[in-house]
Symmetry: C2
Subunit: 219 residues, 2 copies
Amino acid sequence: MSSQTQENYLKCIYKISEKYAEGASTNAIAEGLETKPATVTDMLKKLAAQKLINYQKYQAVTLTPKGRKAALNIVRNHRLWEVFLVDKLKFSWNEVHDVAEQLEHIKSEELINRLDVFLGTPKFDPHGDPIPNKAGKIINNKATPLNESKVGLKLIVAGVSEHSTDFLAYLNEVNLTLGQKVVVKKVVAFDQSMQLIINKKDILFISHQVAKNILVVCQ
Amino acid sequence: MSSQTQENYLKCIYKISEKYAEGASTNAIAEGLETKPATVTDMLKKLAAQKLINYQKYQAVTLTPKGRKAALNIVRNHRLWEVFLVDKLKFSWNEVHDVAEQLEHIKSEELINRLDVFLGTPKFDPHGDPIPNKAGKIINNKATPLNESKVGLKLIVAGVSEHSTDFLAYLNEVNLTLGQKVVVKKVVAFDQSMQLIINKKDILFISHQVAKNILVVCQ
DNA sequence: ACTAAAATTTAGACAAGTCTAAAAATATAT
DNA sequence: ATATATTTTTAGACTTGTCTAAATTTTAGT
């Protein structure tokens, strides 16, 4: 039985491991959880003792199958609650993260399975991230960052790789929301900023920084 | 900012104070929270330091206005979540307590206000208990225990004063659910057990112990 | 390869919430 | 009214999760 704190560590290690195959370093985890490296080391030992992670002194850690399952369960909870908050309670996609961070730790399998059914077993959360199923199976989201797209391709916004309120609120403002049709009109070679056509008519300039964090699929 | 533990103490003191006007004793709180009296004393000092309770050594404690407001907020959360679990997720009224005990501690005013609207601002939870409003105002439930009712009166089940899963599951079994029409046909003088007529036709025997914990209003 | 920088771990400490055992205060019974 | 029982508090200790400061290990630069 993992505590809330331990669940947060597992989730954090999972997220880092998605990006870096070698696993999660002490520093990266400390940054992700806004805590100190020394604190992380203490916790890594406890998680290793429960066989939730593979830990060798001074090396990046990875999740064991047991740890991965626990992490995916938290991710499932988090994303289902986000769907609930947006679809049912009419929150905007940039307002739901903090509350979902709390709700994800509610312990009841029955609750989450019923919530899943109530929501119509959604496959993606409001940010386009895939929702793991009961068994911990998760769709591999093959969307690519907008900054890697070629000029002229017809694209659809399918997700984001940055979840901060500010970023999402900005996307709302400029109408770059999930499902939006986008064509890259021009890329400025100097700073890789982009000129987009949205909804076949509106023109929008975005920075490289923004383009990098928008995920798209071909239309 | 109260911790989950402190919130549970406040709720417990509130519930005891509903029954005993003089307030909550250390022992009563310890029993309610399934902890030890020594632990309770420690916490009472902390709550008093935050001006959430009135505490004098060796005396029963009462909530200050600030403490009462905090307690009613938790009660509001708990009861709204119970309505959600029963109305939306189709849980039975005897399955919701434990999960609601967790959900009640989620910290977000916006969340609970939106949930309230989503549920249609219900006035009572699935056990017939009144739901405090945003401001902490709570309807005084004037339902009376079934065992105090006279023979022949036409009654409606309006609540329960015992919330254990076993008791509620039993009521389900014998069809004594919220809103059920009941007439007291006979009271056995020896043990105060009761013979009821349910739904104008079915006959049911219940013990005094059961009757005491069912709340009714006149039809 | 050797040194400086960066990352990680250890050691010792603290806060919150809990416990047991013992002491002190209050309540009860005859 | 006084002894006994009950309730409450105190004292000291433990666990979880956190911190700072110092030590150690790994990595990187030249």
